[in-house]
């Protein structure tokens, strides 16, 4: 049984970043810190962003950075970097970004359940508002306790 949708070590609040690219690095490094991925995954996610642009800005103020499955992924996982000062990603819709989630999965199936739970949670505008207004990491950790 999963006790938390996002590992407590993979949740972080930061005041600001210089660029969306820096935010992607910081967010995916949380997956490394929490043991879900190895360091090379961070550069693969950035390559994906450089190749295809900010298509993973999926809702107003919300992005989900990720790369394809690979050997540098240990287990399916999510991380969240919350920015107090939102950053511009250059996406056609939904800018600027305050909640930058990152996702990793070792194959194309083992994260499906995690994504379903994540979609259900984020479909609730009240939860999204609580995340946007959270000023402490402990508040965010509590939201993702299941």
């Amino acid at each position: 049984m999963r006790t938390s949708l996002i590992d407590p070590a993979a949740i972080s609040i930061q005041d600001s970043v210089v660029s969306f690219s820096e935010a992607i690095s910081l967010s995916t490094q949380l997956l490394v810190k929490s043991g879900h991925a190895k360091a090379s995954y961070v550069s693969r996610v950035k390559e994906n962003f450089e190749r295809l642009g900010p298509y993973f800005v999926v809702a107003p103020a919300i992005a989900l950075a990720h790369a394809a499955p690979g050997e540098d992924v240990v287990s399916p996982g999510l991380s969240l970097l919350k920015l107090n000062q939102p950053v511009v990603s250059g996406a056609l819709e939904n800018d600027p970004v305050s909640l930058l989630f990152s996702l990793c999965t070792p194959d194309s199936n083992s994260h499906i359940e995690l994504m379903g739970e994540f979609a259900k949670l984020m479909g609730d505008p009240e939860i999204v508002n609580s995340l946007l207004n959270a000023s402490a990491e402990s508040v965010i950790r509590e939201i993702f306790q299941t």
Partner: protein
């Protein structure tokens, strides 16, 4: 009916799209298979998908294909997805 949910790698955005599209289709009582795919799969000329669900940035990359393209702005907004899917299927 085959629907492709598309993203760069076929694991993130596309899986979220599929998860919500499955819920919407079941609420609308429509039988369809939704498959999460990468952009490379989506532009394959042998693709049998009738509808592509996609985020705004990737729209320009699928302009050559035969499937109907539905651009989803807010992936978590089931009402947007419901409205756009019903329109595409009518």
């Amino acid at each position: 009916m085959l629907i492709y949910a598309v993203c760069g790698a076929g694991i993130g955005t596309s899986v979220l799209l599929k998860s919500n599209a499955d819920r919407v289709l079941s609420d609308l009582d429509i039988e369809a298979t939704v498959k999460a795919v990468s952009i490379e799969d989506a532009v394959n000329p042998d693709s049998l998908a009738q509808i592509l669900l996609i985020t705004p940035e990737l729209e320009s990359k699928v302009s050559e294909i035969r499937s109907e393209v539905v651009v989803v702005k807010n992936i978590f907004d089931l009402s947007e997805l419901t409205q756009k899917l019903s329109q595409a299927l009518s």
